[in-house]
C-alpha cells in the first residue's frame, strides 16, 4: 500500500511537471503567435478609419428588434440635454 502511494506520488509529480511545462509552452507559443502573425496582420490590414458615432450604429445591427436609428438617438440626446437644462435636474 505504501508502495502504491509512492507510485501515485510519482505519477502525480510527473503530471504536475509535464502539465506546467506544457501550459507554459502552449501559452508561450501563443505569445509568439500574437507578436508575429497578428502584429503583421494588424499592420497589413488596419481597421478602416470610421467616424466615431458610426460604430454604435453598426453594433445595433445585431439586435434584431427595437433598433433605433442614430438620428433618433441624437435627437433624444438633444432632448435630454434641453430637458435637463430646463429642469435643472442632474440624475
Amino acid at each position: 500500500m505504501m508502495d502504491n502511494m509512492q507510485q501515485q506520488f510519482i505519477e502525480a509529480g510527473t503530471l504536475m511537471l509535464a502539465g506546467m511545462v506544457f501550459v507554459f509552452a502552449f501559452l508561450g507559443v501563443l505569445i509568439v503567435f500574437i507578436n508575429t502573425v497578428l502584429a503583421k496582420l494588424s499592420v497589413k490590414f488596419p481597421d478602416p478609419i470610421v467616424v466615431p458615432h458610426s460604430r454604435p450604429n453598426k453594433k445595433s445591427k445585431s439586435t434584431t428588434n427595437g433598433d433605433i436609428s442614430p438620428a433618433v438617438v441624437a435627437a433624444i440626446s438633444g432632448a435630454v440635454k434641453r430637458y435637463r437644462s430646463q429642469h435643472g435636474q442632474d440624475k
Binding site: G19, V29, F45
Partner: protein, 377 residues
C-alpha cells in the same frame, strides 16, 4: 381507509431517509447562497433546486423516466451542455486586452499551478482513512483550481462522474468567494509600492487580429493537444462568431437565449448528482478543502509570476493583475482593480487584468486537455 393508508404511504414524510433530508438542506443552503448572498446565482439557483428535487423520496426525479435523469444523460453525461455554455462564453469574451498585452498569457499559465499542485494534494489525501482518490478522481478535483465552471463540469463528467456534484459545488462556491479569498493573499505577497504601480495604456487592437486569434488558438490546440479541442474548439467557435461580424444573429443567440436555456438545464442536471450516497462522505470534505487550497495556490502563483515579470520587463506590471490569472471571469479582474484602487485611487487595473483573466480561461482549458490526454484513457 385503504385509500388513506395508500395516501399516507405515498407522502414524503412517510418515506424520508436521513441522507435525503441532509442533502435537501444542502440544496437549501445553495439556494440561500445564490439568492441572499448572490453567489454565482445563475448556476447555483438551478443547481440547489435540482439538489432538492433529486432527493425527494418516491418522486424519482433522477431515476429512469424522471426529468432530471433525462437532463443529466442527454446533456451532461454527453458533455453537450458544458460545451454549449463554453461556446456562449466564447461569444461573450473580448480578447482585445490579451492581444494588446500578450505577456499576460504567462500570468494565465502560472495560475494553473493551482490545478497541478492540487492534483498532488488530492493524492496526498489518500493517507486519510476513508478517502481513496484514483488519479482520475484527483485530476477531476484539481480542475477546481481552474476557477472555470463549465471546464470543471466537463472534465468531471469524463473522469469522475460520481464526484461531479461535489466538484461543481466547490468550483462555483469558490468562484463566488473570489472577492473574499483573493485579497488577503494578494496583499500578503505584494508591497504597497508594487500595488501602486500604474500600467501603460493598452494599444488599440484591430478587427483582423481579433478574428485570427481564435483561429490561431484552435490550430495550436489541434496541433499540440487534440484532447482539449472540444472545450477550446467550442470556445473559439463562439469567439469567432462574435468577432467575424458576419453572423451577428447567431452570436447574439449564443450569448443570450441559448446559454440561458442551457444554464437552467445544466444547473438542474448537476444538482441531480447531489444525492446522499455521492455527497455525504469524507471525500466531499476533502474536495471542499482542496478547492480552497487550489484557489489560494493559483492566486499566489499568478501574483508571484507577475512580481517576477515586473522585475524583468521594461514596461511596469502591477503584480495584482497576476491574481486574475485564475480566470473566474470577470470577478477576479474586478478584484484586482479594487485592491489596486485601495493602494492608489488613480490606478485603474480593470482592462489590464482582463488579459490574464481570459488567459486563465484558455490556461485551464489547456490544463483540462492535458489531464484528459494523460489520465483520461
Amino acid at each position: 381507509m385503504d385509500s388513506l393508508i395508500k395516501l399516507w404511504l405515498s407522502t414524503g414524510l412517510a418515506n424520508f431517509e436521513l441522507g435525503q433530508i441532509v442533502m435537501m438542506l444542502v440544496g437549501w443552503g445553495l439556494l440561500y447562497l445564490a439568492i441572499a448572498r448572490n453567489f454565482e446565482p445563475l448556476l447555483l439557483l438551478p443547481m440547489g433546486f435540482g439538489a432538492i428535487l433529486t432527493n425527494i423520496p418516491i418522486a424519482g426525479f433522477s431515476e429512469v423516466g424522471g426529468l432530471l435523469h433525462y437532463i443529466y444523460y442527454a446533456g451532461i453525461d454527453t458533455g453537450i451542455f458544458p460545451l454549449i455554455i463554453f461556446m456562449g462564453v466564447g461569444a461573450m469574451t473580448d480578447f482585445g486586452a490579451l492581444i494588446a498585452n500578450p505577456k499576460t498569457l504567462l500570468l494565465g499559465a502560472a495560475a494553473q499551478f493551482g490545478i497541478f499542485a492540487t492534483l498532488f494534494g488530492a493524492i496526498a489525501l489518500n493517507y486519510v482513512p476513508g478517502i481513496e482518490f484514483t488519479l482520475k478522481d484527483a485530476s477531476a478535483i484539481a480542475i477546481i483550481g481552474g476557477a472555470d465552471g463549465p471546464t470543471a463540469i466537463f472534465l468531471a463528467s469524463k473522469l469522475a462522474p460520481e464526484l461531479l456534484g461535489a466538484i461543481a459545488v466547490a468550483a462555483y462556491s469558490y468562484m463566488a468567494l473570489v472577492p473574499i479569498i483573493q485579497p488577503p493573499i494578494m496583499r500578503a505577497l505584494t508591497t504597497e509600492e508594487e500595488r501602486k504601480i500604474e500600467m501603460k495604456q493598452l494599444r488599440p487592437v484591430t478587427k483582423i487580429e481579433k478574428i485570427i486569434f481564435p483561429l490561431g488558438v484552435l490550430m495550436m490546440t489541434i496541433f499540440f493537444l487534440p484532447s482539449a479541442t472540444p472545450l477550446v474548439g467550442m470556445f473559439c467557435l463562439g469567439n469567432l462568431m462574435r468577432e467575424s461580424g458576419v453572423v451577428d444573429r447567431l452570436s447574439t443567440t449564443a450569448q443570450n437565449e441559448l446559454i440561458n436555456i442551457t444554464t437552467i438545464f445544466l444547473g438542474l442536471g448537476v444538482g441531480s448528482k447531489l444525492s446522499a450516497e455521492a455527497f455525504l462522505n469524507v471525500e466531499t470534505l476533502g474536495i471542499l478543502g482542496l478547492g480552497a487550497v487550489a484557489f489560494s495556490i493559483g492566486t499566489a502563483s499568478g501574483v508571484l509570476m507577475a512580481k517576477t515579470m515586473n522585475k524583468l520587463s521594461k514596461d511596469p506590471i502591477n503584480p495584482l493583475i497576476g491574481a486574475a490569472g485564475v480566470s473566474a471571469v470577470p470577478m477576479a479582474a474586478r478584484v484586482a482593480n479594487k485592491v489596486g484602487l485601495e493602494a492608489n485611487p488613480h490606478n485603474f487595473l480593470l482592462m489590464h487584468a482582463m488579459g490574464p483573466n481570459v488567459a486563465g480561461v484558455l490556461g485551464s482549458a489547456v490544463a483540462a486537455g492535458i489531464l484528459l490526454a494523460l489520465v483520461g484513457s
